[in-house]
Symmetry: C2
Subunit: 343 residues, 2 copies
Amino acid sequence: MTPRDLLLSEVDLIAALAREFGPPPPEVVVGIGDDCAAIAQEGGQCLLWTVDTLVEGVHFDLAYMSLEQLGWKSLAVNVSDVAAMGGQPKQALLSLGWPPARDKVLALEFARGLARAGRDFGVTVIGGDTVAAPGGLTVTITLTGVVAAAAMVRRAGAGVGDLIYVTGCLGEAAAGLEILRRGLKPDPSVSAPLIEAHLAPRPQVRAGRLLAEAGLATAMIDLSDGVATDLDHICRASGVAAHLPAASVPVSPLVVAAAPLLQRDPLKLALNGGEDYQLLFTTSRERTGSLETAFARAQLPPPRRLGEIVAGQGVWLLRGEEKFEISGQGFDHFRLDRSTEQI
Amino acid sequence: MTPRDLLLSEVDLIAALAREFGPPPPEVVVGIGDDCAAIAQEGGQCLLWTVDTLVEGVHFDLAYMSLEQLGWKSLAVNVSDVAAMGGQPKQALLSLGWPPARDKVLALEFARGLARAGRDFGVTVIGGDTVAAPGGLTVTITLTGVVAAAAMVRRAGAGVGDLIYVTGCLGEAAAGLEILRRGLKPDPSVSAPLIEAHLAPRPQVRAGRLLAEAGLATAMIDLSDGVATDLDHICRASGVAAHLPAASVPVSPLVVAAAPLLQRDPLKLALNGGEDYQLLFTTSRERTGSLETAFARAQLPPPRRLGEIVAGQGVWLLRGEEKFEISGQGFDHFRLDRSTEQI
C-alpha cells in the first residue's frame, strides 16, 4: 500500500491531519477526533467547542427546504454535537457564504430560522462574518457549550460487554430526504413526520445531559452519518467491536410504512441513512436498570437497545447464524453526500 | 427608501442580522459588530472568539498561491482579528470544504501550512470538520484568544481629537495581489516583498497586546478591507468622523516604486486596497509621546500617524483645501472580491 492508498478513507485523512497539527496543550482535554473539542476551565467545567459546515447541493437543496428551515437546522446539527458530549449549548458564531447573484434580503429569512433555533436551544448568535460564495450558499456555525469535566462523555470508553443504545428510532430523516428528493407523494400521515425529521431534526440535549450527569454512558456520539459509520467511530476510539442483531435495530414504523413506495430496505435506511441526530451510546450491562428508570423519571422516551460491544474490530450486523461487517457503510464525506466528518 | 433599499449596504445587512439575533446575554461583553466576540471569564479575563471563511476564486486563487501558503494565511487572518482586540490567540478549529474531484492527499499540504502558522502564532488546531465543497475549496477557521477584560480594545471608543495611527505602511498586499493576478514582472527587489505581503501577511499580535496592556488605544481594528472601509467601521461604532490629510497617508515606498508598472494610484492602493493586516487605532492626543516610547522600547516599528478624529460622520481625505468622502470605498463583501465582513 502506497502512502496515497493509506489516505483513501476519511478516517485515515483525519488521523493524518491530527499528526500534522501535533498534540494539543494540556488544558485541551479533548482534541481532534470527537464530536467537540473540550478545554478545561476554572471550577471543574469544560468549554465544549464545535464547528459544522453545510454546503448547498451537498447538505441541502433549497428546492425543498426554505432558508428559514436551513437557518434552524444549521444550528440544530451543531447543538447535537454538544449534546453528544453531555453538554449544554451556549453561544454561536455564524460564517455565511452568500452567492453574490442572490438577493441578500433573503439572508434575513435564514437569520430568522437561526434566531428561532437559538431561542429553542438557549443559544445566542454573538458574531461571525459574511463572505461571497459564488459556488453556492455555504453555512458554517461554530458553537460553544459547557459540561462538568467529570461528567463529559467521549467516543472512547465503550468496554467489552457494554450494551449499545439509541435515544430514538432510526431512518426517519433518510426516508424524509428520499421523499423530498424524488418528489414522492405518500400518505401525508406517513410523509409529514418523515419530512419533518429531515428538515427539523431534534438534537437530544436533555437526554445527553441526563446520561452525562448520571454517569450512565460509557461512550456517546450523535447520529449524523448513520449507525454504520458513527458506531464505527465509537468502536475505533474505544478499541472494540459491535454486534447488532438485525431484529433489535429500532427501525421507525414510519420508515417501514414508507418502504414499499421508496423501494428501499427499511433496515438499510435505519443503519446507513444519516441525520437522525439521535444519540448513540453504550452503557455498562449492570446500569441498564438505572438507565431505563432515569429516562422514565425524566419523561424521556425509553432508549432502544441496539446490540452489544464485543472484543475485536468493526460493526457487525447479525442475521440468524450469519455476520456481515457494515462498518463505514454510511456516508463518506468526500463524496457528494450530506455527510460531515469531525476532525 | 423601501426596506429593500435599506439593505443594499453590507453595514445595514449586519445591523439587520443583529436585530434578528437580539441582544446577547450579560456574560457576552462584545457581541455582533467587532473583530471578535468577547465572553467574560473567571479572573477578569475575556475569551475572544472569531471566525473567518476564505473561498476559492474570491479570497484566493491556487494559480498563484500554494495550498501550504493558503493554510498559513487562513490562520493568520484570524489571528489578526484577535490582535485587533489586544488579545493573545489560543486554539483553533478548522472546517475544510474540499472539492470532491480534487486529490485529498493535497489537503495535507494545506494542513502543513496551517500547522506552521499555529507554531508561529502559538495556536493549536484542536478539531473541526471536513465536508465536500463542489463549488471550490472553502476554508473556515474559528479561533479563540484571551485578553484582560480591562485592557480589551474595541472599535467603539474613538473620541473627537484622538489621533489615528497604523502599525505599518499601506498598500503592499493590494499591490502584490495585482502583480500576481496580472502576471506582471517588476524588479524582484520590489515585487518579492509585495507578493510576500499578500501571501503571508504578518498579524500584529505584539503591537496589539502592547496597545491594550498599556491602555494606549481608544479604538482599534485590523486592516482587512482597507482604511476607507475599516476606519469607517471605527467611525460608525464610535459616532465620529475621520480626517486624513493625503500627505500623511503612509503609502509603502515599494507600492510607490511599483505604481508605474501597475498603472494604479499608490494612494488609492493604500486607502482602498485590503489585506494589509496592520492594526489601525486611535490614541488620545496627550498619549502620543507614551505611544512612541512604548513602541520603541518594545522594538516595534514606529506607528505611523494617519490623521485625526473629528465630530461628524464618515472618512474624509483632505487634499489642499478640498475634502473627499472615501468611507466604504474598500471592498464590499457581497461583490466578487476578497473581503470578509465581521458580523
